[in-house]
Symmetry: D2
Subunit: 338 residues, 4 copies
């Protein structure tokens, strides 16, 4: 049997070049940097990797580059959702051939399916996949996978080996663990909601697939390690800090642009998003990015912005306003106005 998936898997951001195409060199550099910073695995074609904004060919290329650059260093969990079961299975086959450890497959989206249909979809995959499958539950974007469905799938399909859940709902995670672990002790539970990573590890999760690890892989790893060692008090200190960063990357931006903005401060060029932005949005992004820089500077992972940081309120929108006011005053000072 394969090794159980554990630890923090980075749902890798995809750098784009001037033409909006996959920036292969930067992606390779980013992949190796993440591995060097200690992430336990990589998860290309996740929501953070904006899989829906790429063509089927591009999605394959992203996994290919990731696996190739990885050179077996860490396990790869490849997002394999395509337009229908047949296409998804073809992607599974392709990713198995590229050396992925397992695939992650989001429940069908756009149409909201009933539990019975979600079961039917994954059952067809479970019966035919040539590679281990992790289910991906993200009810804010896709058809929800409920506890009885998880249990049926875990009971019937050995190739379905885990679930990644991005609901952030602790009680739901506990219900899944209660329902599945007795019959499938090998089943992996990963949380996609790092806002509650420490509590999720405390209640029994095996790890996480966390967008924040694109920007602060050192911190998500530290939280994971402190938590599995039972050092919850110390883990929680980092947890409160990562929550502040997570909120600042998540809410004021269109997902996952805030994570791109933060990871840029680590020395990468992600290029313009494929989702167009208005001039207003581009100017907002600059101010918001400065707030991110200040939070990252507190972690001592990047330098503070020129002119330093305003004291933060813990409320991103207000922080942005304070930052803007401060910048304007500095500009005026420089010009001798005040």
């Amino acid at each position: 049997m394969a090794q159980k998936l554990r630890g923090i898997f980075t749902p890798t951001l995809v750098p784009l070049d001037d033409q909006g195409q996959i920036h292969e060199r930067e992606l390779r550099r980013f992949v190796s940097w993440l591995i060097d910073r200690g992430v336990h695995g990589l998860y290309p074609n996740g929501s953070t990797g904006e899989f829906t904004r790429f063509t089927p060919e591009e999605r394959r290329r992203i996994v290919e580059i990731t696996c190739d650059e990885n050179r077996g260093r860490v396990p790869i969990l490849a997002g394999a959702a395509e337009a229908n079961v047949k296409e998804t299975l073809a992607a599974c086959e392709a990713y198995a051939g590229m050396g992925a450890t397992a695939v992650a497959i989001v429940a069908p989206f756009y149409f909201k399916l009933s539990p019975e249909s979600v079961y039917a979809y994954f059952a067809e995959i479970g019966r035919n996949t040539p590679i281990d499958v992790t289910l991906y539950n993200i009810p804010m974007f896709a058809s929800p996978i409920d506890v009885p469905t998880i249990r049926r799938l875990a009971a019937e399909f050995p190739r379905i080996v885990g679930i990644k859940d991005s609901s952030g709902d602790l009680a739901f995670m506990m219900r899944m663990i209660s329902a599945v672990r007795p019959i499938r002790p090998d089943f992996t539970f990963l949380t996609g909601w790092e806002a509650v990573l420490t509590p999720m590890l405390m209640i029994g999760c095996d790890g996480g697939t966390n967008a924040s690890s694109n920007a602060v892989p050192e911190i998500t790893r530290r939280i994971y390690e402190l938590s599995i060692e039972g050092k919850y008090e110390e883990a929680m200190k980092w947890q409160f800090r990562i929550l502040e960063l997570f909120d600042a990357m998540l809410y004021p931006f269109e997902f996952p642009d805030g994570f791109r903005a933060a990871a840029e401060f680590r020395g990468f060029d992600f290029g313009l998003s494929r989702q167009p932005q208005t001039p207003t949005q581009r100017s907002d992004r600059e101010s918001l990015a400065r707030v991110l820089q200040c939070i990252l500077a507190d972690f001592e992972l990047v330098s503070p912005p020129p002119g330093g940081c305003a004291v933060r309120t813990g409320q991103p929108e207000q922080d942005k306003i304070k930052q803007v006011v401060r910048d304007v005053l500095q500009e005026l000072e420089k010009r001798g106005v005040v």
Copy 2:
């Protein structure tokens, strides 16, 4: 300037063959049958056409077949949403070349975008499209398009010529009409929610893109004609009947399988859905289809099922139960048991 889009556009179902591939011959036969039954236009690659379950190449092929079979008889509104703006614009170009009248583009889905981002997305399209564009608002599946966004887009981009709204919200439709018609009298308002087709036409809509017209094109056309003639009382008689059918096609099935089941009674073979079904679902489908057959028989569009129809309650689930009981009794009678 192009002719304003008016009337009932059928969001065409796609027949599949034994291999789950597009059944071209049947699709052609279906397209011509719809035109012969009086639909005002065709709308390939809509939600009813399950556009998300096909590959980009298949979506192009569906429009190609539709345009070719149409031979200019009715306007074609081709669904052109792809993975990102660049791909969507390429589809627009392709469909213009195939002779489509206009394209319909759903707001970005999976990620739920803010109004500003929805604007940015359609603005980029509005600036570059070589063919007229109809916006497609379907908030239950995709990012919502709100009234100020519609207004901005209508004011700035002459190539954006209309909106198809599937919310079924009359007040929302009135707000859009109030905000846009004074500045763009040519702008088309189409409703995708035939449950309220007559009231939508009464308040000023120009037509509809209605899944039900796959099964009963004669009736949706009749409702349209009676309504534009101001014969609301008569229109409402048909409206109440189409509501019963719509509910019976929509709620007990996974969309759009109930519409496929109904259209099969008109003499077409749609094949198995690409969304797999469990044995329970397949057996349910048979019972539910018999209810649909009974409703269609009341319209005198198809024959009643062998053994006739139970009196309906107007509540699909109960009707199904009654039908099943009746069938079991008939079977027992046949065998001389009762």
Copy 3:
């Protein structure tokens, strides 16, 4: 059998005095003014009447004043919901004694109940009420009443004589009418959502209980009359205008404060709301009220504000901004600054 309830019932606002107590004299004056302006009935203790913000004794007093002032001129539909079935039945008895025509009872709120429990609640009332009962469905505030529940209640309890629905969902109203009218032709369907009053009347509603009729009783009555005469085109002209007013009273204010603000322009003093307001809210209210005054002036029901009205955009928030800018400029002009 009692007369079927028809027409526009005003869910009466309650004027408060300086002490925040029911302002009896003003309430009497308002009741008579509404009757004089042609409303078909009065509905004290509705949501617009803020029934939850009064004590049980005050709710009784409000009905008592209303019935007394009415002197039999129009039917009174008295809101009778209390803390539990026993208290609600006691209120029914009291209102019967005061001369109310019928009572309206909202589904239980705070706790969200299942359809079976909603049925159980109204069944107990239906069995024991000494006065006709109208169900009140307002799913945004209270447990929803679904179609099968309505049907069961209508079938079993002759004293349940109608439903007031504030969902604004046309298809839902049609489903109720389909399910109930064949078995209870006397059953009354009233809409509480005047945003779609004309379409609701067109599909078969008997009338409405509409908060807007507190401010513009003449207009809601006109829409009702034009609609029942089948003059939908003319009705829709007023419908679009009342939608603008409704939106401007509903969305920028806490309900029902916008309706209070508008009705004040008709010459009544409603006093401060029992829901406290911050200074920011009080200053916003002034600006928003000026927008309402402008809309009411267009109806030629009140004078425009001193200095006249800015051209409206149809979007209340923007209208408010325009109005404020205009006011500031006027003030500056007055002072000779510009």
Copy 4:
């Protein structure tokens, strides 16, 4: 300054007699039993205490009985929400006079208020209350209290001393703690969602107000104690078990009837609910109660039902079916049929 509120407060169920009136003797016996079983405090007039189903006079009487029976043994947190600010302040005064330690006040319900209005409501209370106030956030039933609002209230009103949150959202609790603790180290955070009691205590909550403590006060206390001692592994064993019980009391019943049913097995007579039940519901309740009895028997707090317990599936609905099948078989066996 008053002692900080800590530990598990029981939102006390209210026993009713044959006439549906408060069963004072049983309530006294229950209150003393809870204190003897080690709950840290009592919380009359909570949602579990069905405060909305009592009259204002009855609510006062419930607090009076509770305080009197308590005789100063544990702190009392009295639910004081009434129809409006003035009535609520009168209740605060009354409860202060009865010896309550503090009051808990739910955000306004029925009408869904904006954050500014929620602030205005609690500010008025904070300015005038003669007794410490705990805010009560329960977004599924009442207007939500958001983080900026909490922070404003905590910063401005020393008499507002804590919040009880029933959302069960860990990240939200962390955001509140982050925003408030630096400025108000005395502020109390209580969770009303025992499904996640251990994780909530781990992230820094001071305790809980948990309906389950009506039925198993020993267990909720044990979870609290193990958690504050940092024995999370052992706490989680009990946490998983209380989750099973919680789900079985919460979901298949109308709230809080499942908690009443469970507490009845501890030797109390709660009488019929004020929310009427249909015969179907009453018969369902019996089967569901047997499942609860089996779970409680596992805790060795009550005897198993006659005939013993079926092995549970962890899914209440299925457990109920299994239990019913088992009961029927036993009955048949008894009659010698099988």
